[in-house]
Symmetry: C2
């Protein structure tokens, strides 16, 4: 079934094989192979009261691709492990997943379709790192490094709030039912941007590659909340962080920016801010936003002098994983 | 959570990174990267009345590894996308999955743990093909090729029957409650083998590599039933097949061998039977069992002169996929 649905996709280039055999074959040489998987479960990771099944598919693929972006890796293929109920339709989820992969220029190379009581989509991504710069982990930050963001955060969480308050899943919002507190009401265009950020997020692949090329020492994606992901980068690197700026997307609230997650902006730690800025400028990307600095004391984690909360989304159940790889 | 559970695993070798970052990094050069994913759902792919959750984990990993075996690829890493209910325990599933990976000499390099109403395990495997022989697809069979099996089939289906009739999931069977028809009752040792074949199957990785090295032209694993998988090989290659032997495992029934599936033996199509036999002998593997031959007419699919049924397990829902890659 999945094979039939995928048969509409473009054919694999010479030397590769995608869906239709026991496994898919990909070229990754001459770099290293980088892999990750991410699972989206209807009702857990996607509120189908305000999101479509296509949105669920899109978001799962974007989340997995973002893990490659955060390693400065270039994706080469996506595998979709989809379960749907007996009377469910896999087409909508697949359509969203394939559209997201295409929007990021990555082929869906295979997958597996199964019956289950609930819609789940396990997305595995395969990528490669360039030979010139290795994969960028979250454990390489050193005291004195600058901390920079690829863009302002909070859009996805604000988009979910707007969708829930509007109570519609088609994204056409009633302007009389607000998503923001009085006095901070954004214009309609900003609303649409927030909703799009939640329903159709983009992985920062170009930014991740530019960061790798510019020699950043550590990187993580803001998938679970800026504060929590910063803590994880600091945990892995054995360092502390001093945060003095949280760039908030227009229409989002501060707490959505600090702990909202699913924004997929990247946090980069670099010793050479000028090189990072020049690299982003050369790649035609917005200038990175400097938000803080790395300090030696691993217990020192502050936001403008106050303790930095571990605000964010803890995966799985009670406690988060050491990583999502 | 998954990261913490995986922290007990051996550390990655230099140049690689496993669990603990946004993605895992693997060396695959100088060959090609081969990837596949397989999902196991409790109650759909694993009858938890007779199987443990650890068995579910083992079987899912074995099924995914078998897809690499069938491409003549060598696995380099496994990703586990696990969902469990809020009050469920992921440890048992993971224990079985990790034990299977270890038994096949493959590291678990990452994964993702999520909450869902049902236990599902999406296993993604990454492998490489040798430079000396490319990946072996299911589409390369040519008229005149011999069809050979890596071993007799039917064990997994017979094992499930034995388990269901014995009504126990610990595999200690009451010898007074039979699994076989009168006159074909196997000894206890054979019963244990059948049960093990269902609960703890092995991927034929060494056989797949030996087959690739011996230049087989097409290969598929018997994951969904010998008859159905032979049809798929013939479909992909645009050929017919003449089948004259179905080697049945002691204690299994003919229909379990023809359509039972989950045996993970490999069907190989080769023009050079002597080279295949010599290669298997050199690798210390049992001699391949010649079961039939490839013919030019794609509509000619026979078992001892009768039409070969499409007996086997169709994935997903009503219809099977074009492939499980």
């Amino acid at each position: 079934m999945l094979g039939r649905l995928l048969a509409r996709l473009p054919r694999a280039p010479a030397g590769e094989r995608w869906a239709g055999d026991d496994a898919a074959v990909l070229e990754v040489a001459p770099g290293r192979c980088v892999v990750s998987c991410d699972t989206a479960v209807a009702g857990v990771h996607a509120d189908l009261g305000v999101l479509s099944e296509a949105d669920l598919g899109w978001r799962a693929v974007a989340g997995a691709l973002s893990d490659l972006a955060a390693m400065a890796a270039e994706p080469v293929g996506v595998l979709l492990g989809l379960t749907v109920p007996r009377d469910g339709a896999p087409e909508a989820v697949l359509e969203g997943a394939v559209a997201c992969a295409e929007a990021h220029g990555v082929p869906v190379v295979g997958g597996d379709l199964s019956e289950a009581p609930v819609v789940t989509l396990c997305v595995s991504v395969v990528g490669r790192t360039a030979t010139a710069f290795g994969p960028v982990g979250r454990d390489g930050a050193r005291p004195g490094d600058w901390l920079a963001l690829t863009g302002p955060v909070g859009a996805a969480a604000a988009g979910l709030r707007v969708l829930r308050e509007a109570g519609t899943r088609d994204g056409r919002l009633d302007p009389n039912r607000g998503g923001c507190a009085p006095g901070e009401e954004p214009p309609g265009a900003a609303w649409a941007d927030l909703v799009r950020a939640h329903r159709r997020p983009r992985a920062r692949l170009a930014e991740g590659l530019a960061a790798g090329r510019a020699g950043v020492r550590a990187m993580v994606d803001v998938s679970d909340g800026l504060a929590l992901d910063l803590h994880r980068l600091a945990d892995a690197s054995g360092v502390g962080v001093v945060l003095w700026d949280v760039p908030v997307v227009p229409g989002a609230r501060f707490e959505e920016a600090l702990g909202g997650g699913e924004d997929y902006e990247l946090v980069m730690a670099t010793a050479d801010l000028a090189r990072l800025r020049a690299g982003f400028a050369r790649a035609g990307l917005p200038e990175p936003l400097v938000v803080g600095r790395v300090v030696a004391d691993p217990d020192h984690r502050t936001w403008r002098g106050e303790p930095l909360p571990r605000a964010g989304y803890e995966h799985g159940r009670a406690q988060g994983p050491a990583g999502s790889a």
